[in-house]
Symmetry: C2
DNA sequence: ATGATGAATGACAGCGCTGTCAGCGGCGCC
DNA sequence: GGCGCCGCTGACAGCGCTGTCATTCATCAT
């Protein structure tokens, strides 16, 4: 089968990709390529007979449209890019899931990238994503390098920042105030009678949300517990892990033995701290109270059940998806800032 | 500015996309488009002077190459697609992370999709992904619809199935035997003196790995504990959650009060079961022993610390990435089946 | 019967790149 | 001095689609 057919000139195209193309489907179906294109994208536009002929040919050839060609011709990619800090332990998993559900219902695919809580890496990722000409982009966080902001602005596509709050979003923002959430926690613990709180989070990293939470803690302590020192523990090289939480419990007992409540920037830390307290035979909240952040599923099953803040994880994803889709449909719509709030959940640990 | 310039004919391109193109960069740099393309993709090919002129023009114009055009022209997309069952609680998060690290080091981007443990949905996702002409594809699991297998075979790109084992992979497979892993657990508990095990997992879903674990359990029980009934609990509508684990503990106590060890198909269940045992004041392993699967970070912090099986989460991702890259470079390489094994971790819960 | 409408279709250029080939000048070699 | 060689560059076609416009034909009101 290596010989050229005698009936046709041996003019095989130079770079034959070997895959079925729209033209071949058209030839088989006995219609023009235009009709095949229409039948696939919007059956309403073609007659029933044409539609059926095309579908038969598509099945027969196992035709899979080449989206790269489609993107190029239509200048729409049918994709949305999302950049998030991490996947493990992901608070963001629910957000991504909801986002993907929202988008895929509209036939839009999600491109996912993780920055590892690193804004320089984030910039690289955004640059790479922009090369794929997504129709929109979803970011976690509202803190980015100036380069990232600039690129995003220039891309002229809808941008939704999430999980954070800002008065100066790039475009749209869907989130809540991490700062206010921590303030709310401090208000609760003060009301519950605790007077010597210690904040704990991963502050070595570039996680602006952790920082916002820290700031909210500091504000509230200064306001509600005047004269009280602002105790802050950084998990540093322990990062975001259960182990870091266990370590934190030791730290607070050693470094701040007077502290009566450990205010964690994540349920992950709080989980580790509670388990470590169990191990040490410490009573929670008797010997030390503990609060979390995020209301993970495990938190209500711990002993004691964790007092925490519920964040609108999947609502963020859903709304972000809706917003992106709306703005793809109407690029001139005004930017939207959506504060989804948070819900303090008081259980037994504080 | 709506008037056509008198000097040039008013032949504005019909569908102007408004973004900077390679041609514009070339004009500004004073070289041909070919040279710009080369300078960007492989600086070695052009003179230093040309390279610098191009880079200056790229900076000045904020040029971002259009990958859709590049894909179309070169028939390579620079992407790899990955399909996994879920993201929440994700055992797979580490795998994806390692995979992404491996690929992005080679300048390849990862397209991620989740099937929700649904093989029909998986097929849709694969179809959609294939439209983007990825250079390779990574699947979680070795059980797919025939349609999926067929598409994947026809795509003529490297395919790596993961987290599972099969004698008849589509192309490559990197994983371990879930069946054998459960057998190993049963061997341990029998050796430790337990005689009445109950297996628990989410069997209502189409998770073939859960099923393989169940089968491994059954095999081992029949072999090592002849005469013993094969007790199996399905979390059913509770799915994969901590809550399901708590529920399981209740179930095993009620339905199989004689059972002395609960063999969970995931550390998530085991975690819920241990916490529920704490709540009920049951001694673990005294009243009932508990084993998990996956060795999540929290497992070693529980009380008692969980006996489980460590799976090569990120090694799977790393190897899968390497394999994909190798096979992109050399499409004629022979398929590889890589059994990465597993490691039983004996702690205090069984 | 006639023109006006509208649905369905086809022709064609072009989206922004890359592969390929040809051409240019400078160099070392016989 | 002529030859081949090599590094670098530019011209050009074409990847597989879609937007746009032109065309056809049946349908309808006049």
């Amino acid at each position: 089968m290596t010989d050229a057919e005698p009936s046709a000139p041996p003019r095989l195209t130079r770079r034959n990709t070997g895959t079925v193309t729209l033209d071949e489907v058209a030839a088989l179906a006995g219609v023009s390529p235009s009709t095949v294109s229409r039948a696939i994208r919007d059956p309403e536009q073609v007659s029933l007979a044409a539609y059926e002929a095309v579908m038969r040919a598509v099945d027969e050839t196992n035709y899979v449209p080449n989206r790269a060609a489609s993107n190029l011709a239509s200048n729409r990619s049918g994709t949305v890019a999302a950049v998030m800090p991490a996947m493990s332990y992901s608070v963001f998993a629910d957000t991504v899931h909801a986002l993907e559900a929202e988008l895929s219902a509209a036939g839009v695919q999600l491109f996912l990238g993780t920055s590892g809580y690193d804004e320089a890496r984030e910039e690289q990722i955004v640059r790479a994503f922009l090369g794929r000409r997504p129709d929109g982009i979803v970011m976690v966080g509202a803190s980015h390098t100036e380069g990232t902001r600039e690129m995003l602005r220039r891309a002229r596509i809808p941008v939704v920042e999430t999980w954070d709050w800002s008065d100066d979003p790039i475009d749209c923002i869907v989130g809540f105030s991490n700062r206010d959430a921590l303030t709310a926690i401090v208000e609760h613990i003060v009301e519950a009678g605790y007077r010597h709180p210690t904040f704990a989070g991963w502050l070595t990293g570039v996680d602006s949300r952790a920082r916002a939470r820290r700031d909210g803690f500091e504000d509230a302590v200064r306001r509600l517990l005047p004269g009280e020192p602002v105790r802050v523990l950084d998990t540093a090289e322990h990062g975001i892990s259960v182990e870091a939480g266990a370590w934190l419990l030791g730290q607070v007992r050693e470094q701040h033995p007077e502290s009566d409540v450990l205010v964690c920037a994540s349920d992950i830390f709080a989980t580790g701290a509670i388990l470590e307290a169990q191990r040490r035979g410490l009573a929670v909240p008797g010997d030390i109270a503990i609060t979390g952040f995020g209301d993970f599923e495990i938190s209500r099953h711990l002993h004691p059940a964790l007092t925490t803040v519920q964040t609108p994880d999947d609502l963020i994803g859903r709304r972000a998806g809706e917003l992106i889709l709306e703005r793809i449909a109407d690029p001139d719509a005004a930017p939207v800032s959506l504060d989804l709030g948070f819900t303090p959940i008081v259980r037994d640990s504080a």
